[in-house]
Amino acid sequence: MPLMKPNTDVGIVGYGCYIPMYRLPAKEVTRIWNDGQGGVPIKEKAVGGPDEDTMTIGLEAARNALVRAQIDPQQIGAVWVGSESHPYAVKPTSTIIAEAIGATPATQGADWQFACKAGTETIQAGIGFVAGGMARYVLGIGADTAQGRPGDALEFTAASGGAAFVIGAAEESLAVFEATYSHVTDTPDFWRRPTTHYPSHGQRFTGEPAYFHHVLSAAQTIMAELGYTAQDFAYVILHQPNRKFPERAAAELGFEKEQWVTGLLSPVVGNTYAGASVLGLTAVLDIAQPGDKILCVSFGSGAGSDAFIINTTDRLPDKQKSAPTTQDYINRRIEIDYATYVRYRNKLKMH
């Protein structure tokens, strides 16, 4: 059986998200690069301010997760941050967050990298770490301040945001992992070499052989192995680089709109990369009822997908409002123009 299923049940003790307040409408990008002509893949994307980066985004999400978890941060045995935009090439983001939440020094800190699925990897590894008794809690974070090359198709969607999860024993959890599965191959659909600022991508190659193959394979495998069909799930969250891909993949998997609409944030938030599928998950957890079954599938270029089946528990309702919800952050919104965006995201050449 290819699934990863721990011997002891493990779940989510606390979760939290963060989305910056600035929004760049996609029509601003077409205004600058295409005379305002042509369609746009989403309505708008979230943009971090000049003082925000993956650390600050991950930290606020982590603080919200801790408010919901109500645990002693000293009992967090690992702080893991997945991102493709760590503030340093060398020097961990995780130690800064661990220090700021009071988890240091007796904790494991590491930064993870696998394009847009770096966040779900921290959760997957955290399940194993907790189930194996290596730590009472693991803090797993996916956050990004994704950058698209000016004028590139990715510029419409590359966005900032993140989510954090305190992984712990099932008895303490607001949702329990039933199983997880990871599907990876060497598929170079999107990449960035160490000294370049913007990533490159394989245009239409990012579709069928990359996103759809991995997302669908991971989802189909985990469902089939456990004998589930789409009808068994209250919600599904798929990695969301735009609006079209996850909608089409959800339909191919047999899901209906009411199952995917809650967790599809890319139309109003953009693609937050390592934050994308996990932000969809926090949006679902914000409104789910106890006993709901959730399918969450990430996708990371290069390429792979992590699939999770999660069942919510009676502990969830009390936790939902104890920290700001995903919708609270979506509602906090200031529209900016392309010039402000260029300034905030460090695209102005100053020297």
Partner: protein, 137 residues
């Protein structure tokens, strides 16, 4: 590139978590921590005290001519924030429309980049304050 590392590193708990002190003798809460109580001059070791990060704007102004290292975010608003536990603290306001700030505005602490030491240097993170997040009931 400047390499002011230890100067900032030793303040991590203050900058990230607003850890100050409470005087064991007179009970006054202080930020930043001091070796000698600012009210009663008691100099016994003072226990740490973590401030909630909630407060209100006591005064504010907007800096247009930013000093070296701060031009990126100019114009920005700096404020004296009255913490709910008592002390005043100097900090930038963030996630705010400069023209909408007013005295008495409730704010909360967030951790943001204070400055970067060039493209190659260390990033200094620390407290800033923003308008309290509107949370749906």
């Amino acid at each position: 590139m400047t390499t002011e590392i230890a100067r900032h590193w030793r303040l991590n708990s203050q900058r990230y978590q607003l850890v100050g002190e409470v005087c064991p003798k007179c009970g006054v809460k202080m930020f930043p921590p001091r070796d000698v109580c600012m009210e009663c001059a008691d100099d016994t070791r003072q226990p740490d005290f973590q401030f909630s990060g909630r407060g209100e704007v006591y005064s504010f102004t907007t800096v247009h001519n930013a000093p070296e290292g701060y031009q990126e975010s100019a114009p920005y608003t700096v404020a004296l924030v009255k913490l709910e536990e008592g002390p005043l603290i100097t900090a930038q306001l963030t996630d705010v429309v400069n023209s909408e700030v007013e005295i008495g505005m409730p704010v909360e602490m967030v951790t943001r980049k204070l400055r970067a030491q060039g493209e190659e240097g260390v990033i200094i993170y620390g407290y800033k304050f923003r308008p309290r997040l509107a949370v749906a009931g």
